[in-house]
């Protein structure tokens, strides 16, 4: 099971993405009661970055948050910061590289985990329902251009916030993905990327997808090329969505083993595991179609 959703506004302007995404993942709540998460992309290009960090010491988060903020202040201006439910959100005024930010965080707060670094991306996830996600991170009012989301039914790894989706591609700003299915050559790929210095935080096979895509793109592939290549490089069953600052993409395995539908309206491109989520976003008159095996699509501005 698991449910994935994506929404890409055709216009460059910001829309009520948070509210739409909540409706969509709520509709898929029964496919994934374990946890819920969203990667939301704000429309305004910031010069700095938004950083989300899961603090290691959930009982005493303030102390660790202070240490991280001190370290990040060394990289430049801190515009804002807050701790919600053990997750620190920092708005950085500078454009430091994602790897530099991540290293500074991990050094100042061992055991913490960087959920995301993005110029436009803000990533929220937690154990529980869409309503609980909104209660923790107040996403209903979020305005942006596109987003992806996930509801999780855990089948292979444990249920906690770290193992929840979306996953961010460490080292590459803004790239995040949500996946429905199983990647059966995960261990082999993980070994390969660990040898190259990539850090994995969980035992969730889905974490390999953004790592893989980031790696392909670091080697010069476009998002579309990386998605196409993934269909033969990733083994197993998958329908997954990926987003960057400017794009939304999808890929489906060679057997069409996992569902994924899309619909297009004047306003947006909408994709989801089930039509029920597309109806939740666009109303009952929307025309949704199941995508074929080996399908790859990318929408960009």
């Amino acid at each position: 099971m698991c449910g994935i959703v994506g929404y890409f506004r055709k216009a460059d302007s910001e829309g009520p993405i948070g509210e739409v995404m909540l409706r969509m993942i709520t509709a898929l709540g029964c496919r994934g009661p374990d946890s819920t998460g969203l990667a939301l992309y704000g429309g305004k290009r910031r010069s700095g970055a938004v950083v989300r960090v899961k603090l290691a010491d959930q009982a005493e988060p303030t102390h660790q948050a202070t240490a991280i903020l001190d370290a990040l202040a060394g990289l430049g201006e801190i515009r804002a910061s807050a701790v919600d439910d053990g997750v620190l959100r920092v708005e950085l005024g500078n454009g430091a590289a994602a790897t530099v930010v991540e290293r500074a965080v991990l050094r100042s707060a061992p055991g913490s985990e960087v959920f995301s670094v993005g110029r436009r991306l803000d990533l929220v996830k937690r154990v529980g329902t869409a309503a609980e996600l909104d209660a923790s991170f107040h996403i209903r009012g979020f305005r942006g251009t596109h987003a992806i989301g996930h509801t999780r039914l855990a089948t292979e790894s444990k249920v906690d916030i770290s193992h929840s989706q979306p996953f961010w591609a460490h080292g590459r700003r803004d790239l995040a993905s949500v996946h429905n299915g199983h990647i059966t050559n995960y261990v082999k790929l993980r070994d390969l990327y660990e040898m190259r210095g990539h850090v994995f935080y969980t035992h969730n096979d889905s974490e390999i997808i953004p790592a893989y895509l980031g790696d392909r793109m670091d080697q010069g592939a476009t998002l579309e090329q990386a998605l196409r290549q993934s269909i033969s490089d990733l083994d197993g069953t998958f329908s997954y969505l990926v987003a960057t600052a400017e794009e939304l993409g999808l890929a489906k395995d060679g057997f069409s083993a996992k569902p994924l539908l899309m619909a297009e309206t004047d306003e947006a491109v909408v994709v989801a595991t089930e039509e029920i989520a597309i109806v939740a976003a666009c109303g009952p008159d929307v025309h949704a179609t199941e995508l074929p095996a080996r399908e790859v699509r990318v929408w960009s501005r």
Partner: protein, 236 residues
Amino acid sequence: MVAVASRLTVDCRGRSIRDVNRAIREAMVAGEPSIQVLHPEARHSLAVALLAPVEIRIEGSVGYYCGGMGDGPHVTIAGSAGWGLAECIMGGQVVCRGSAGNGAAASIRGGRVVIHGNAAARAGISLKGGTVLIGGNTGYMTGFMMQKGTIVVCGDAAEGLGDSMYAGEIYVGGRIAGLGNDAVEQPMGEADVTRLGELLEEHALPGDAPRFRKICTGGRLHNFNKHEFDVWRAAL
């Protein structure tokens, strides 16, 4: 669709699907010949396991397994359908005006499933009888391991068409991206053209019957033959 004067209406909004299906079944027991289902909003398992003749019209798109395990009802879906449309029906008819998700008409033993739009992957998988009609294109591995019955595709068929089929026939009006293991093309006979022409006309589906191609089993996978090991290796 011809309007029926005394049509009972069941509204899905604010009700559980179990409750909706119970209302449909109670109406059938009360002798209602025609039932209209409103606001399906792509929810799953609507109008399943109905075992008597009744007209059901669903005013919108449905989720998974709509009309499944039925024997007798005529179900019409005004919108699209999710996975497993009309799965395992024994008789009756399920008509989808839009497109259907993966595994449409899987394992049906009889009856008729009509999809006016496109069917996704594995339509008519393990077909054991009955007729599946697809007005548009059909997806990967249509008719996989079918054992009996007929599939008609007016548009194009994706790769793996009729893979490992045991028996039955698939008629395709458009292009075939690739035949599956042991699926072979056979000439259209006069009986094929007549029967296909009647089916297309009855359901107002596009295409010119004599121009269709007929796909059947090659029979090479029916019995294991160690001298044809390569055939088996490719199939498995």
